[in-house]
């Protein structure tokens, strides 16, 4: 993959689910879930970029349980993944959503021999092992997303319309639920575990961000950022290195970074997109790099160096990057709903609704600036 050139991978159906594979630090490997209402057409694609050759290898798995709205690989086991899916039942004239956990037969994607190669070229979808399917208590309930607990491999958090259900993976039963008091009418749009708190789950409710401690009665938020965006808040991501910092994106086209101990004003804010921002991700290794995807059909690589170069006493270290957009990735032609960093620090993928995956690299001169 040369400088500035991105690799594009196309799929057959609409897509809005993307996850990097965790646990394999050396491989650039992404999983994509398709979204199609036609029965038995949905798939999970595993895409791996071979760094040495720049070749792209894929494997396809069947996902007949329904269209995929959300996909997360397990941080505890590279071969395990979790999808949030939806299926139409013609008998009841109703859609039912659920969360399923699968295990891939192998994490290997790059073919080892010619047989492998021909099998892959045939693009015959393979089967995955379904470990568990968890359904909401009421069948018509909508599930926004499901997230793995960062340390406890038996826990997952499922965000529904107006509450968060913490489930045990093995039994599928609800351990506890999070539902804020009052304001129940404001629906949740998403949520995430806080990586530091271990038991804290942050949810997006309308324009607000609220974080609940799952060990308590989960009625009162342990912290919250009211009116984090002027329109709907769409996504958050926690700073992997710096406690208390988190990034949020929303329908006001803004990318905000907050220190949630002081939730009045964002410590960093940019409005570089020209429509709703659907996703925001911190680079796992270099917290000054942020990736955003928006329905203006762009993915932006943004530097928030000014707030990351402060040491513990608030003194400014040498600032290597200017704040602002480092690069705009314009290869998409429809809304970008997902963008993810790979396990390798300099590569990322963005996925648009028109089923186009774009694998890109941080431009080399920025990379050198950060490293040197």
């Amino acid at each position: 993959m040369e400088e500035g050139n991105s690799i594009i991978y196309g799929l057959e159906h609409q897509t809005r689910a993307l996850s990097p594979q965790y646990g394999e630090s050396d491989a650039i490997r992404f999983l994509i879930g398709t979204q199609s209402l036609k029965p038995n057409t949905n798939q999970v694609h595993v895409v791996e970029l071979e760094e040495d050759t720049g070749a792209l290898h894929t494997k396809v798995f069947k996902h007949d349980i329904g269209e995929i709205w959300h996909l997360r690989c397990s941080p505890h086991d590279a071969a395990t993944l979790m999808t949030t899916h939806n299926a139409y039942d013609p008998d009841t004239c109703q859609c039912t959503m659920g969360v399923s956990i699968f295990k891939l037969p192998t994490t290997e994607v790059i073919p080892k021999d010619l047989d492998d190669l021909s099998a892959i070229q045939g693009r015959n979808a393979e089967d995955m092992e379904l470990l568990k399917t968890i359904t909401p208590e009421k069948p018509e309930e909508e599930i926004r997303c499901a997230e793995w607990h960062p340390t406890d491999s038996n826990r997952i958090g499922i965000v529904l319309d107006n509450y968060v259900s913490i489930r045990d993976v093995n039994t599928g039963s609800q351990v506890t639920s999070v539902a804020p008091e009052g304001r129940a009418r404001l629906k949740f749009t998403g949520g995430k575990w806080s990586p530091q708190g271990h038991c804290q789950f942050a949810v997006l409710q309308d324009t607000h961000i609220k974080c609940f401690d799952t060990r308590t009665d989960c009625v009162k938020s342990s912290w919250h950022i009211d009116n984090a965006h002027r329109q709907l808040a769409r996504d958050i991501d926690f700073n992997p290195n710096r406690q208390f910092h988190l990034a949020s994106a929303g329908d006001d086209a803004a990318l905000n970074i907050w220190d949630y101990r002081n939730s009045k004003e964002p410590i960093f804010s940019r409005t570089d997109h020209s429509h709703w921002v659907w996703t925001v991700r911190y680079n796992t290794y270099h917290e000054q790099l942020l990736l955003t995807g928006s329905s203006d059909a762009r993915a932006l690589l943004t530097a928030a160096a000014s707030i990351c170069d402060l040491d513990d006493e608030g003194k400014r270290l040498s600032q290597v990057l200017e704040d602002g957009v480092l690069q705009s990735y314009e290869q998409h032609e429809d809304s970008v709903y997902c963008a993810e960093w790979s396990a390798e620090p300099w590569t990322f993928a963005s996925l648009s609704y028109d089923a186009r995956l774009v694998l890109s690299r941080v431009p080399r001169h920025f990379k050198y600036k950060i490293l040197l």
């Binding site: 939806n86 859609c95 002027r230 086209a253 409005t271 020209s274 429509h275 203006d296 429809d334």
Partner: protein
């Protein structure tokens, strides 16, 4: 004489001296008849006889006189002999007197010398007495406060004392005198230092001290310290009335007390010390004047002095006095400072002006907001409101410029100075630029607060238009107006061109912010309606469509009302506007969802800068609303009827919205995208016949 010459020449005149009897006779005989000759003869005979007798009388008389004279002479001769004798006696006597007098003067010479000696002794004694009495005299004089006499006496005696000071008897006197004079000096110094001595007393004391041969520098110090004390007193008085007196009163008081005294002090100083180098004075004067200026500025800032007329009059008085002062002091900093005071006052005035304008504008704006809020969207004549706001603003600015021109009146002491002209021009420009920049800032803040604070979109449109108007015409008009005013008030004063660009940039960015905000506001309002309606509905169980949903009508209404408001202020230009955003979204046949189609069409920037044009504004709002519809549709799942309902809605929107904006491709592309997305999200994607959709829309 003529007669006599005639007589002389006429030999015929019988009484003349040249009478020639023969000629006369000849003539007579020739000319006269015999009878006449006869008569003439008789006449001449009578005349001769008469003359004869007369001559005899005369001779007798003379003779008598001669006899009497002879007798007198004889008498005199006898008298002279007596006289001679007496004269001899007299000369003898005189000789006697001379000898006597010589004897007497010989005798008197000795005693005269004695008297002279006595006299000089007496004078010396007098002097000595004066010297001996000097201490008491001095004391007395000092007690009676006749310091001048005392000093005079002392200076008289001083020489003697110095001359004879080594003699023991004088030594005591001298030391006594010195003591007294020391005391005197001390009292004088004390008098200098007491604050209630008047300036003239002060000068007198210093003069005396100088006569007593005090060294200059210490005297200067003392003089200045005491003067400072006095002036401090004045300063205190002045500062105590700073908050209560108006400027005229204050300046009057300042001129009469402090500055007058300062003048006296300074001129005294010059008289007394003839200090050519002026070491201390400027510093001293500066110190005092700085405080005066401070007080003056405080006074100027009082609210009572807002009236230009009173301010100018006070300033004029003050400046005149200062100019006079600066001539006396001839201190560069003070005259500079005097200019500075005027300039500062002008600036201060300008600041007040634009602050007033701003607050008035805010009030106006508040009224406009209230009237907009109370009227509702229907009837408000935005153009009217805009005009009244704009005219009011322009008038206020122009009025304040005119007001500032009062500083350039001829009659003022600083009126026609070029520095004053410059200051006024600067101040005027400050008023213009600050007002406009404030306006821009205000518009920007209002525009960025749009969600939390309900500023109506009409107001945003008005403000945007106002900024644009000011940007296009207002700035230049005001600039020209300023130049004209300056030419009228200060002819010949070369006014610099002002940098109108930065103001214009402020205004245009403010206008842009307001327009963007308006577009987003309208767009979001419509988008919110669509979003809620799409997300809340159960599209899987939707009944067969019977007409467009109510929300579509509301969306159309919202967009239409914004469009009509925009049309009042931003009439569409004849040529199709160049929308700042790029063109149409990939338009494609709803049935085929192929990325290929998108490659050939351009991207839509949804939140993009809005053009100052009705169509561009509407385009902007449409984009925001319809893109939201697309995104929300993609989050739902549709049944066949749900899809058809959306088809009807889209058709309805297309019909009603196509009259707004000028970019039908944009509208169609977005609506097609919405419909295509719904088709993708549909479990049974079958569209209705276009004709049926038409009928349903008509019916609805």
């Amino acid at each position: 004489m003529g007669d006599s010459s005639n007589d002389n020449e006429n030999p015929l005149d019988i009484d003349g001296s040249n009478f020639n009897s023969e000629m006369y006779l000849e003539c007579l005989l020739k000319c006269a008849t015999l009878r006449q000759v006869m008569d003439k003869e008789a006449e001449v005979v009578t005349q001769s006889q008469f003359l004869q007798s007369e001559m005899q009388t005369l001779v007798y008389e003379n003779y008598n006189k001669f006899i009497s004279a002879t007798e007198t002479v004889r008498k005199m001769r006898s008298d002279f002999q007596i006289m001679q004798e007496e004269m001899n006696k007299l000369s003898e006597n005189i000789n006697n007197i001379t000898t006597f007098s010589a004897k007497i003067s010989d005798n008197l010479k000795e005693s005269g010398n004695n008297v002279n000696r006595l006299c000089s002794t007496r004078q010396l004694l007098d002097k000595l007495q004066f010297v001996f009495l000097l201490p008491t005299q001095l004391n007395k004089a000092i007690q009676e406060n006749r310091y001048v006499d005392a000093v005079q006496d002392y200076t008289h005696a001083q020489r003697v004392l110095q001359k004879y000071g080594n003699q023991p008897s004088f030594q005591s006197i001298q030391s006594e005198c010195l003591e007294i004079i020391c005391d005197l000096k001390k009292t004088l110094r004390e008098r200098l230092l007491t604050p209630d001595t008047s300036a003239s007393e002060l000068a007198e004391s210093v003069g005396l001290l100088r006569q007593l041969q005090e060294t200059d520098s210490s005297l200067q110090d003392i003089f200045l310290t005491s003067a400072e004390n006095r002036l401090d007193q004045h300063l205190k008085n002045l500062s105590s009335i700073v908050d209560s007196a108006d400027i005229l009163e204050w300046v009057e008081k300042c001129n009469n007390t402090l500055l007058a005294d300062l003048g006296i002090i300074i001129s005294c100083y010059h008289d007394l010390f003839e200090d050519k180098e002026m070491v201390n004075l400027p510093e001293f004067a500066d110190k005092i004047m700085t405080q005066v200026f401070q007080l003056f500025e405080e006074n100027v800032k009082r609210p009572e002095n807002i009236g230009t007329e009173i301010l100018i009059r006070g300033l004029d008085k003050f400046f005149r006095k200062l100019q006079a002062m600066s001539e006396i002091i001839s201190s560069e900093p003070i005259s500079n400072k005097a200019l500075d005071v005027v300039i500062q006052s002008i600036k201060h005035k300008a600041t007040l002006q634009y602050e007033t304008i701003q607050s008035q504008f805010k009030e106006n704006l508040m009224r406009v907001r209230q009237s907009l809020a109370s009227k509702g969207t229907e009837s408000a004549d935005l153009k009217d409101i805009l005009n009244s706001l704009q005219i009011h603003l322009m008038q206020k600015i122009q009025a304040s410029l005119l007001d500032l021109m009062a500083f350039l009146q001829n009659k003022l002491s600083f009126g026609l100075k070029s520095w004053c002209g410059k200051a006024v021009a600067d101040a005027c420009w400050t008023v213009i630029s600050e007002t406009l920049i404030n306006l821009s800032e205000m518009v920007k803040t209002m525009a960025s607060l749009q969600t939390s604070n309900n500023i109506s979109f009409e107001l945003l449109l008005i403000l945007a238009k106002l900024c644009l108007e000011m940007h296009e015409n207002g700035v230049t008009t005001l600039h020209n107006h300023l130049i004209k005013l300056m030419e009228e008030s200060a002819p010949g004063f070369a006014i610099d061109k002002r940098d109108t660009n930065s103001v214009m940039v402020h205004l245009s960015t403010a206008a842009q912010t307001a327009l963007d905000s308006e577009v987003v506001f309208i767009g979001q309002t419509a988008a919110q309606m669509l979003r809620v309606s799409v997300l809340a509905r159960d599209w899987l169980r939707a009944p067969e469509p019977r007409g467009p949903r109510a929300v579509c009508r509301r969306v159309v209404e919202t967009l239409a009302s914004a469009d009509s408001a925009a049309s009042q202020l931003f009439p569409t230009s004849v040529k199709p506007s160049s929308d700042s955003s790029r063109r149409t979204i990939w338009s494609r046949a709803p049935s085929s969802f192929s990325p290929i189609n998108r490659i050939f069409s351009e991207r839509i920037e949804v939140f993009s800068p809005a053009g100052a044009d009705r169509a561009a504004l509407s385009n902007g709002a449409l984009k925001v609303a319809l893109k939201a519809l697309v995104e929300c549709v993609r989050l739902r799942t549709f049944s066949r009827h749900g899809l058809q309902q959306l088809q009807v809605d889209v058709h309805f929107l297309q019909q009603r919205l196509s009259c707004m904006g000028n970019d039908e491709r944009l509208l169609n592309a977005l609506l097609e995208d919405a419909l295509a997305s719904a088709q993708i999200r549909c479990i049974d994607p079958q569209l209705m016949e276009a004709s049926i959709v038409d009928i349903i829309c008509e019916r609805g």
